[in-house]
């Protein structure tokens, strides 16, 4: 759509503001036009201004059910991005083309979806057009936040799959053994006596009984895990219950904390917190117990449990092309070299490292060369291989593989949410002394954490009254004192009521009359 048609489309619904939108830009660029003779200002009433449309992405299947209003979100996408994903490539405001950040593309017209009549009519439309947190918006918000809970649902499922797989392999092994045993007995009846055959067959029966027991236990465990999956889905549904929403949110915070504690291996605290918050069904304490074993052994410089774990999960580790086993073997090799058992080391390499040689030649070469050095060598390249920090590295690798296998995120949930939250809250004002103590970023620890993160951006003014700490919006407009300080109408009215119409500025102490105040219009 070129500029002309866009303009006419844009202004057809809006009689009063029939001025070309780029008047401001023209002025700024130094161009003027004579004899305009217009009646209205360019940007019209603030209601109209308040309706900057922000276009959300439409998801590929076109469903926009999360946002019932036509809230649309302006995405500054440069021309380099392929046109296939979001169908609205470049939208930006003409009037601010010069000052937008670099990667905004060429100016285009804003699409005014909300074509309600402007002018003095419909003062109610203005608050509606603003981002007032109606209950629909809140529900939409909750729905969006539920979408982040993949880990909650996936982990017990993976655990269940694991148990099912284990039981299946058990049954498969036993069945094959029994069948082949029977076949063998049938064939070799001539060479062995009847008693022997009878004995063999009864041993098969005992074996099957053992299998039955194990399968029963396995079945019970599977049922528990199914129950856990179900409980979690129930929990997600319960967010719709408006009374218990605060409890739900507290439970969510506790879940995030328990996840962090488990990943940092603080198992007792995690257990305690789960009990205190009554969220045992919603956290993965049991999953981490098996990780605990392996991690503790690795900390004690013992690779055997880790190798066992790798063997148990061989197929899936292979699918994700994991090098964990290789690295564990390398470490064992280094330990052998450290103990000066070179011949053993060489045999070990032949047996266990050779299969990995094809894909990891460089790594292997580097490590095998340690044979030529002693463990207290000064040569930096090989010294680092003998450091105890190698074990910490192995622990980290194991943790990552473990989390990946169970469908968990590679970073603790706490870090993910904290980063997002700090970015959303970070403004330059947070680092000043006058920062309100209610802001988390007034605390030293949070400030340090937030330093490398980007600032958040605002497209609309959001003003907070110094006195009442409430938002100053259309219902509570800002009033300006003669000394230039601004407070909300409600707070100033209250103050005037209690003091015979006199207003004292809380910050400078100057006194003035209530009728000296001027209204300010801020979009």
């Amino acid at each position: 759509m070129d500029k002309r048609t866009a303009k006419s489309f844009f202004f057809s619904a809006d009689r009063r503001t029939h001025l070309p939108r780029d008047e401001i830009q023209d002025e700024r660029l130094g161009k003027t036009e004579q004899g305009r003779g217009r009646s209205g200002g360019v940007l019209g009433s603030e209601k109209w201004r308040g309706r900057w449309i922000e276009r959300w992405f439409r998801s590929p299947n076109g469903s926009n059910s999360v946002f019932p209003h036509q809230w649309q979100w302006r995405i500054p996408v440069s021309a380099a991005i392929e046109p296939s994903p979001p169908p609205s490539p470049s939208l930006s405001s003409v009037s601010t083309a010069n000052s937008l950040p670099d990667f905004l593309s060429s100016p285009a017209m804003d699409m005014a979806i909300d074509s309600a009549p402007n002018g003095d009519a419909s003062p109610a439309a203005a608050p509606a057009a603003q981002a007032a947190p109606t209950s629909t918006a809140r529900l939409a918000q909750l729905a969006e936040s539920l979408k982040l809970e993949h880990q909650l649902v996936r982990v017990p499922l993976e655990h269940l799959k694991k148990t099912i797989r284990f039981d299946y392999r058990l049954a498969e092994r036993e069945f094959t053994a029994v069948l082949s045993s029977v076949a063998e007995a049938a064939d070799s009846l001539d060479s062995s006596s009847v008693d022997e055959t009878l004995k063999q067959l009864s041993s098969l029966v005992t074996r099957l009984q053992g299998l039955k027991r194990k399968l029963e236990e396995g079945g019970k465990l599977e049922n528990l895990q199914v129950q856990r999956c179900r409980a979690r889905l129930e929990h997600l549904r319960s967010v719709a219950d408006a009374d218990k929403l605060d409890d739900w949110k507290d439970a969510r915070l506790n879940r995030i904390l328990v996840d962090y504690l488990l990943r940092m291996s603080y198992y007792d605290s995690a257990q305690k917190l789960a009990e205190t918050g009554n969220i045992q069904e919603l956290v993965d304490l049991d999953v981490f117990i098996e990780a605990k074993r392996v991690i503790e052994s690795l900390r004690n410089k013992d690779v055997v449990p880790a190798l066992i774990w790798c063997a148990e999960n061989k197929a899936r580790l292979k699918k994700s092309k994991s090098k964990l086993e290789f690295q564990l073997r390398l470490q064992e090799f280094i330990e052998l070299v450290r103990a000066n058992e070179h011949m053993k080391a060489i045999f070990y390499a032949r047996r266990y490292l050779a299969p990995w040689a094809a894909t990891n030649m460089k790594e292997m070469q580097r490590v095998v060369t340690t044979l030529a050095f002693r463990h207290n060598t000064e040569c930096s390249v090989y010294k680092v291989l003998f450091e105890p920090t190698q074990w910490d590295y192995l622990v980290e690798q194991f943790k990552q593989e473990f989390c990946r296998l169970f469908g968990m995120t590679n970073e603790p949930l706490l870090n993910i949410y904290l980063q997002a939250g700090l970015t959303a809250l970070k403004t330059p004002l947070c680092y000043k002394e006058a920062c309100s103590k209610e802001d988390p970023l007034s605390q030293e620890g949070f400030r340090k954490l937030a330093e490398p993160l980007p600032f958040s951006k605002f497209h609309h003014s959001k003003l907070v009254c110094y006195i009442s700490k409430k938002l100053m919006d259309h219902e509570n407009p800002p009033l300006v004192l003669p000394n230039g300080h601004v407070y909300s109408t409600k707070a100033l009215e209250e103050m005037a009521q209690q003091n015979d119409g006199k207003i004292t500025c809380p910050r400078t102490g100057e006194v003035c009359n209530f009728n000296e105040l001027v209204k300010a219009f801020i979009s």
Binding site: V42, I75, T409, L425, P454, F455
Partner: protein, 385 residues
């Protein structure tokens, strides 16, 4: 959020799992049964050594087992189950966002700072045992110092819960200056509540002497409340029938406890709500936006890591608004010390830079972009939010 779809898929999984489990056990029983039968048959035959009958029995057993082929059945069951599981996994991956760590920037959070934040969060919630356990596990001995103020606070809250206002009154009187500075009348409210308590449980005389002792010194400041309390004296014993019955309601205690907590935290220089919970709640609000943004910017990974300011706003609710942010409608930039907001005579507000630009270096009067009123630069006043 298609929770129903997910629920259905999961119900199918659960059914299949039960079926598979019970069928497997049934197979085991069948095989066992067959073998036992064969054993019984063999034992019941008369002849001792290898005889064609024994061979026949074993051959029969083998054939029977091969016939209903438990291996194949097991395999089919497992395959079915795997298919259902796979479908469920697909449904979850579609409904949920499978990888929320995509928007994570590779900045390392110092674990010490994070641990201290968590420890202070636990102490603030009153979970002192948990906090101690955490500190010992995480090896952060210096965080134990965070405990003391909150111990005090919870001690006072506990006593308030038991309707004992003594500790609270002590605290309020020792911090009365600070409270007065911040415009809080916590002390007065505590005295009021205590007065009502004394009136209920004790004699009028004691109540009167209480007022004389505590409220009389500051009588001028409490012009409205003291007459009310005096009025209560008249209805002693029948307070619930008096016009002052609302003073008896129990939620005064709760509200006062809340206010006390607020003032206490404020005095410590901390926020009323745990900062960790605010930050995480803000994160939950903002993460979907960030994920969408990241997917759009996926091509330019470098810029994602290195950006100084987000290119799009994150819409947080007004609970998270702690600062006044002024955004000039013309420039779309935030106001700062170098670019403060200016009020024009018509009542509209623009930033200084846009005014300067509009007026072309402060010579002639310019038109407000909103309304057709003209104004000159000198008439514009700087605003302080």
């Amino acid at each position: 959020m298609e929770l129903d779809l997910i629920q259905d898929a999961f119900d199918r999984v659960s059914k299949k799992q039960k079926l598979s489990s019970s069928k497997t056990q049934q197979l085991v029983r069948q095989i066992e049964h067959e073998i036992e039968q064969a054993i019984m048959k063999m034992q019941s035959t008369e002849n001792a050594t290898s005889c064609p009958e024994l061979k026949q029995i074993l051959a029969d057993l083998k054939n029977k087992l091969n016939e209903f082929s438990p291996m194949n059945q097991l395999e089919t069951l497992q395959k079915d189950l795997n298919i259902t599981l796979g479908k469920y996994v697909k449904v979850t991956e579609k409904s949920f966002n499978p990888d929320i760590s995509k928007a994570y920037r590779n900045v390392d959070f110092d674990p010490h700072i994070v641990n201290q934040i968590i420890a202070s969060h636990f102490y603030r919630q009153g979970l002192f045992d948990l906090g101690d356990c955490f500190i010992s596990e995480a090896n952060e001995p210096e965080a134990a110092a965070l405990k003391t103020p909150f111990l005090e606070m919870y001690g006072i809250l506990e006593s308030m819960r038991r309707r004992n206002l003594e500790l609270a009154l002590n605290w309020a009187s020792s911090h009365s200056e600070w409270l007065a500075q911040n415009g809080s009348n916590l002390e007065l409210k505590l005295h009021q509540l205590q007065f009502v308590e004394i009136l209920q449980n004790d004699s009028v005389q004691n109540a009167l002497s209480y007022v004389r002792k505590h409220l009389a010194p500051n009588a001028s400041a409490h012009k409205v409340e003291i007459p009310k309390l005096m009025g209560c004296l008249v209805w002693s014993g029948k307070l619930h029938k008096s016009p002052y019955a609302d003073l008896l309601s129990p939620n005064h205690w709760e509200k006062l406890a809340d206010e006390f907590m607020q003032q206490f935290c404020s005095c410590l220089g901390q926020s009323y709500q745990s900062p960790l919970s605010i930050a995480i709640a803000a994160g939950i609000h903002g993460l979907p936006t960030l994920l969408k943004l990241e997917s759009v910017m996926a091509v330019k990974k470098q810029e994602w890591q290195a950006m100084k300011q987000l290119p799009v706003p994150i819409d947080l609710s007004k609970d998270f608004q702690f600062h006044s942010i002024f955004v000039c409608p013309v420039l779309r930039e935030q106001g700062s010390d170098e670019n403060p907001p200016m009020l024009m005579p018509c009542g509209h507000v623009l930033s200084k830079q846009s005014i300067v630009k509009l007026s072309k270096s402060s010579t002639r009067p310019f038109k407000c972009p909103y309304c057709p009123l003209e104004a000159s630069v000198a008439q514009c006043r700087q605003l302080h939010f």
